[in-house]
């Protein structure tokens, strides 16, 4: 599986491009994290790959064929997408919501194989107990795992995730990230995830793409990309990067925080 972007540009019609000439070559099973500040075009980049948006310039090739050469259904069999949020106007049960992910492969009827695939993925993500609950009754973190399950039953070769751990507690942040890494190893899937958590990205990614002002600022292993200089340049934040178990670990600093002055009252927060 190979995804090649060459000089990709996109603008929403306002004249200032959100993506300004992105060139990237991603191949083989691995975990790739896309990092960068808000509004830098991370989601737009992903949407240009899976045909939600049509690039205004440059080319996007999936397995050597331009994305225009794919129907949406063909694309859905190769590239799965796990969004940041999902509509719940007419919510289904968790089981049925996940079952929708089988659509690119399914015929007219739902087969027992489809049902078993769904049940197995729910099991793998530890959300079997939610199966018969309605999607709109779930917490943000539970929803996120359901959407991940939907992406996994799609059995794609590439799965793209928009902030998959943003609503999760620390245990599930690690659990889901580990599951994604395992998927790349056991199922041979290329995992591309947008993240705001530099340390999750550093701990689990094989490669990191750091974006800045609509361009790729730096690409490489987490050690190469996550440096104090890069973080200062891209995010405008001071940090210290240390080594923990062979992975870079970013400690954020805010030297101005203590200079915001004392409170004029005595704050209370007891039990």
């Amino acid at each position: 599986m190979r995804i090649e972007l060459d000089g990709l540009t996109f603008d929403y019609g306002s004249g200032n491009p959100v993506l300004d000439g992105i060139t990237l070559d991603m191949a083989e099973p691995q975990v790739i994290s896309i990092l960068g500040p808000n509004g830098v075009g991370k989601s737009t980049l992903i949407h240009c790959i899976n045909k939600i948006l049509k690039p205004t310039g440059g080319t996007v090739m999936v397995d050597g064929i331009g994305v225009d050469g794919y129907t949406l259904k063909e694309m859905a069999r190769k590239v799965g997408y796990v969004p940041y949020s999902s509509s719940d106007t007419f919510p289904l049960t968790v089981f049925d919501t996940v079952l929708l992910g089988r659509h690119p492969h399914a015929g007219w009827r739902t087969s027992d194989e489809d049902l078993e695939t769904v049940a197995d993925v729910l099991d793998r993500l530890g959300i079997q107990d939610l199966a018969m609950r309605y999607f709109d009754e779930l917490s943000a973190g539970q929803r996120q795992r359901v959407m991940l399950a939907r992406g996994l039953v799609q059995k794609p070769r590439v799965i793209m995730l928009d902030e998959p751990t943003s609503n999760l507690d620390i245990r599930h942040q690690l659990g889901i990230s580990r599951t994604l890494k395992e998927l790349s190893r056991t199922d041979g899937i290329m995992v591309i995830m947008i993240s705001h958590d530099l340390n999750i990205a550093a701990r689990y990614s094989d490669h990191v793409v750091l974006m800045h002002e609509g361009r790729v600022f730096s690409v490489g292993t987490p050690e190469e990309v996550l440096t104090e200089d890069n973080i200062r340049e891209v995010y405008g934040v001071e940090s210290r990067v240390i080594d923990v178990d062979g992975h870079p670990y970013v400690i954020l600093r805010d030297d101005d925080a203590d200079s915001s002055g004392d409170l004029s009252v005595e704050p209370v927060c007891n039990r």
Binding site: A76, R77, S86, T89, H103, D112, Q128, Q154
Partner: protein, 360 residues
């Protein structure tokens, strides 16, 4: 609920849940049959309800009764006065309910109904033009001229939407805005025509706007029935895609659904389904909104079940409303449905527990 131990058990449970939904379907179908019996007895009261069923069954089976026997008279009465409007009510109820469920999914909006793109106002415009000004296509006069006018009128809005779709994406919001704009336009034309006409025509025009089954005859049935069978089979075939659409346009695309093409095709089917009903019955409101919602409140939002069950529920509601309308004498069925339906709908919204969005 017990914790679920194995994948096999989960699959079994899933199947069992589907089975439970069929119960609502059975109840609706039985409801239709009961009302048909009551209806027959109220029109021809010298037979019992069981005898009425026997007579209807015999007619369907092609049994001939001796001329001027009790059965012969009962057969004539029931078959010529009750059955056309009962069959029309069943077909119209099923069709409007399916169209409503379809429209709510297409728009991703619980407030949508078959008329949301302006179909009803277009149909009114056509019908009332025939009624008031006598302007019809092919200069057909009377009832048939009005039917053709209403049918064509109701297709104007969707034709405009399809033309627009070449220039801009057909999102739910743009559809609703276009529908609203067209409704205002046609309504003002209708108002103008109603202002300049005489009292009798005005009454007919009003009744048509509310919807009535009084004017339905056997001649109306084949078109309604044919379009409904083909249209609803098509909608049921697409119910899985409709479920995907409920995830929102972007997510639906990533699951391989060509959202815009799909929406246009569905709109066209829905417009023809609705037009084939409305042109005979007038714009029966509320049903397309309420029948799918009642079903969702009872069994959840899975369109694979909502659509067929809403059709049965829609048939039941409309037959029942028409039975009441006829018993009370001369009240248009549309009025009855709103008077009785609104409080029931309201109560269900208050008591609903789950399986529903946060819109209410």
């Amino acid at each position: 609920m017990n914790p679920i131990e194995s994948s096999d058990e989960l699959v079994t449970r899933y199947h069992r849940q589907a089975l439970r939904k069929l119960l609502v379907l059975v109840v609706s179908v039985v409801g239709v049959i009961v009302v048909v019996g009551l209806f027959s007895v109220s029109v021809y009261d010298s037979v019992s309800i069981m005898e009425a069923y026997g007579i209807i069954w015999d007619h369907i089976m092609g049994v001939q009764h001796a001329p001027r026997s009790t059965e012969w008279w009962a057969d004539r009465f029931i078959w010529n006065t009750v059955m056309p409007r009962v069959v029309a009510a069943i077909v119209a109820g099923a069709s409007l309910a399916a169209a409503g469920a379809l429209m709510q999914s297409l728009m991703n909006n619980p407030l949508a109904d078959p008329y949301s793109t302006g179909i009803s106002s277009g149909a009114c415009f056509g019908a009332i033009m025939a009624l008031v000004l006598g302007l019809t296509i092919n200069s057909l006069s009377g009832q048939s001229g009005m039917v053709v006018n209403a049918f064509l009128g109701s297709l104007i809005p969707v034709a405009i939407v399809i033309l627009i779709s070449k220039r801009m994406p057909v999102s739910p919001a743009s559809l609703i805005l276009v529908g609203t704009a067209l409704s205002y336009f046609f309504s003002s034309m209708v108002t103008y025509m109603m202002v300049i006409t005489d009292a009798d025509t005005l009454q007919n025009a009003y009744i048509w706007q509310v919807g009535t089954l009084d004017t339905v005859t056997w001649e109306s049935i084949p078109l309604m029935f044919g379009v409904t069978v083909v249209g609803s089979a098509f909608v049921m075939f697409l119910s899985r895609q409709l479920n995907i659409l409920s995830l929102g346009d972007a997510n639906a695309k990533t699951l391989g659904l060509d959202v815009e093409k799909f929406r246009i095709v569905c709109l066209l089917v829905m417009a023809v389904m609705t037009a084939s009903i409305v042109c005979f019955t007038g714009t029966i409101g509320f049903l397309g909104l309420v029948a799918p919602h009642l079903v969702r409140l009872l069994i959840g939002s899975d369109n694979r079940f909502v659509i067929p069950i809403a059709m049965a529920m829609g048939a039941f509601i409309l037959v029942l409303a028409d039975y009441i309308a006829m018993s009370v004498s001369d009240v248009p069925v549309g009025v009855v449905m709103s008077i009785i339906g609104s409080p029931i709908f309201f109560a269900l919204i208050l008591w609903q527990k789950k399986g529903y969005g946060t819109v209410y």
